[in-house]
């Protein structure tokens, strides 16, 4: 009786110790993929994907509840990079084109509300002066348009010009 109690106690405490040590040694700090995917996203926290910020989107993409194409400001580049990183293939034919904001001159009253709300400092202007969007810095997050009291901000697809045009892929031959 006593032998059984002592041996079982010894075995269980030994195993307990081993488990305890292992849990310390092989401790996993969250999912490292989430951080990696988050680093690829534009960090604008614009919420266009429907998740709370880029961190939320990264989590959703990693656990598979969102597609890598869910980030409109990131566009094709980010989607492709994430898909490559996670080893998944993008759904074909899903062309996501980033949009940019355009301020209509005749409606802008120079209230600076959009400037204050732009996460990437893409709008320049001063009080009672016409504001203007710098295309190069705009993520198309729509936060300026939401805050504009006169509805002067339109979201447009980037226009095609000789500077961004790409020769289309030839039609498939059989």
């Amino acid at each position: 009786m006593l032998t059984a109690v002592i041996s079982l106690a010894a075995i269980s405490s030994g195993l307990g110790l081993a488990l305890g040590l292992a849990s310390r040694k092989f401790h996993v700090e969250g999912n490292s993929l989430v951080a990696e995917v988050q680093a690829m996203l534009p960090a604008a926290n614009c919420g266009q994907c429907g998740f709370p910020g880029c961190a939320g989107a990264a989590e959703a993409i990693v656990d598979g509840s969102a597609a890598p194409t869910c980030c409109p400001p990131g566009g094709k580049v980010v989607a492709q990079a994430i898909a490559d990183h996670l080893g998944i293939t993008l759904a074909a034919g899903e062309d996501i084109r980033p949009t940019i904001a355009l301020i209509q001159d005749h409606l802008c009253i120079g209230c600076t509300k959009c400037i204050k709300n732009c996460p990437s400092d893409a709008i320049i202007g001063a009080t009672k002066q016409l504001h203007i969007v710098m295309d190069e810095a705009c993520t198309g997050c729509n936060q300026c348009a939401e805050k504009c009291p006169t509805g002067a901000i339109e979201m447009l697809e980037l226009p095609q010009s000789i500077h961004n045009w790409v020769m289309p892929q030839p039609a498939r031959y059989s």
Binding site: P73, G74, D121, I162, P170
Partner: protein
């Protein structure tokens, strides 16, 4: 002048390239004629590789021929001059030579017919100018590579200063079918071309000129040899006719047997390549002070009634040139700006001639020979034709499967998009379109990535700024509070002191 001959063994060992029908006649047999002035000139601001030029004239302004109308837009850029005297009627979007017929900003100039020059500063002996002066004047004249690549020539000249250049190669190969503008220029203006080459030679510090001319242009070779006779440093070399002989690396390989490294420049092997048209423009600019306002353009193709070479003002619409050559015999199946192999298919006949336009072709249906593509039979013809030694069929298969990265790994970057592979393909697979698509797509991705990186930086900077501002505000608050408290404490102390004083007084 010792004659340099390409060793027969080199010819045999270098088996790349294709031999399309040349179609150079009748245009190559006729003198260059002046095209005259059309009703309207449209001058796009991006006629060169690099940043677009900046407009410095206003709508309604009268300008003279040779007057600067748009200045250099950056380090790699070129200025633009008025091709004739007239009035600037608009600065607006206009169709440019582009496969999708897109528009870009252009200066619209209505000629007044007087063709009045600005006062020109001619130089009787331009060869006595300093190196610096030569390259500065080339830059001010707005000269770009006239063979079609349109790289600003002055930038190329200063490149020669940085890396040691020993040989200047004059590219007179004109390997594209139909085109004969360089051929005619060499026959009619050989002296000017040789003088221009000597000026470039001086500016770059190179010691010899090798002018490569394809053996299908015997008259041009003869004229150039005669003109080069007094100069021992200038050698005229007959090279085999083959497409794409005019690509710089291919020309270097044939003329010297040396292959320029894929990840470097031609200058790395001590060579600088300039087109004969560029040498001519350099001579005009330095000897007569004329900026680049016109160029020789071959107007040809089965649909053109009377093909010939014309001296054309920049900005002239293609429709005017066809009219000038007797009009179109039949409705063209395809209109091309440039040569048939690498030129740009044009949909709008208002498309202007720009600095890099060597030809304007209206091809009849029989010449286009368009057929449906069929499956690749893996015959390897494209591999043999490729001047760079790539595997076009393998690259196309990868691009087809949207694996652009893999295509890049097997040499997409080295592809010249010369089109020799697609030309020779028995299955008529549009190979070069695949490569153009993939190159464009990769370039656009890297542009987009750059943009995203900038945005990320800006976003983080703004977040940091807002945090810092909040912290500073809190600090100021804390300091004010502390000051207030200190002041209150001091006041209280003073009060206490006064009270104590009163007490002692009492």
């Amino acid at each position: 002048m010792p004659t340099i001959v390409i060793p027969p063994l080199r010819r045999l060992l270098q088996r790349w390239g294709v031999h399309p029908d040349s179609h150079k006649y009748p245009a190559a047999g006729l003198d260059i004629e002046d095209a005259g002035l059309p009703d309207m000139l449209r001058l796009p601001l991006s006629q060169h590789v690099g940043a677009p030029a900046k407009v410095i004239v206003e709508v309604g302004e009268r300008v003279l021929r040779g007057q600067l109308i748009a200045s250099t837009g950056g380090k790699i850029s070129a200025p633009l001059h008025a091709p004739t005297s007239g009035t600037i009627v608009a600065i607006d979007e206009a169709v440019v030579p582009h496969p999708a017929a897109l528009t870009d900003v252009a200066i619209h100039l209505r000629p007044d017919g007087l063709d009045e020059w600005i006062p020109l500063k001619s130089e009787l002996y331009p060869i006595n100018l300093s190196e610096r002066e030569i390259s500065d004047r080339v830059e001010d004249a707005g000269i770009v590579g006239m063979g079609g690549a349109s790289f600003p020539s002055a930038v190329k000249l200063s490149l020669g200063h940085r890396s040691k250049v020993t040989t200047l190669m004059l590219n007179g190969s004109e390997c594209e079918p139909y085109l004969s503008c360089d051929d005619r220029l060499m026959q009619e203006n050989a002296h000017a071309i040789i003088e221009g080459a000597r000026l470039i030679l001086k500016a770059t510090g190179a010691t010899r000129v090798l002018a490569g001319i394809e053996d299908n242009k015997p008259e041009a070779i003869l004229a150039m040899k005669l003109a080069a006779k007094p100069f021992p440093e200038v050698h005229i070399v007959k090279i085999p006719s083959r497409y794409p002989m005019g690509a710089d690396r291919q020309l270097i390989k044939m003329l010297t047997g040396i292959e320029a490294p894929a990840d470097g420049r031609a200058a790395d092997v001590g060579v600088l390549v300039h087109n004969v048209g560029t040498a001519y423009a350099v001579y005009r600019a330095l000897r007569y002070g004329e900026p680049l306002t016109e160029r020789v353009v071959t107007v040809a193709g089965g649909a053109v009634s009377a093909p010939r070479n014309l001296r054309v003002r920049l900005g002239t619409p293609m429709a005017y040139l066809f009219e000038r050559c007797g009009g179109l015999r039949v409705p063209p199946a395809r209109v091309v700006s440039g040569g048939p192999m690498m030129g740009i298919g044009v949909q709008n006949l208002d498309t202007p001639v720009v600095k890099g336009t060597s030809g304007v072709l209206a091809l009849a249906a029989a010449e286009v020979g368009e057929r449906e593509a069929s499956a690749c039979i893996r015959c390897g013809s494209c591999v043999e034709a490729c001047p760079v030694g790539l595997l076009p069929l393998e690259m196309a298969a990868r691009i087809h499967a949207n694996a652009l990265g893999e295509a890049e790994e097997i040499g997409l970057d080295d592809c010249l998009t010369c089109g020799a592979c697609g030309f020779i393909c028995p299955s008529r697979i549009p190979l070069v379109q695949y490569f153009q698509h993939a190159k464009g797509e990769l370039a656009s991705r890297s542009r987009e990535q750059k943009r995203l990186d900038t945005i990320k930086e800006l976003t983080e900077a703004k977040a940091a700024r807002i945090e810092r501002e909040a912290r500073e505000k809190a600090e100021i608050h804390a300091r004010r509070k502390a000051e207030r408290e200190r002041a209150q404490a001091a006041e209280a102390a003073a009060k206490a002191a006064r009270a104590a004083e009163k007490e002692t007084e009492a």
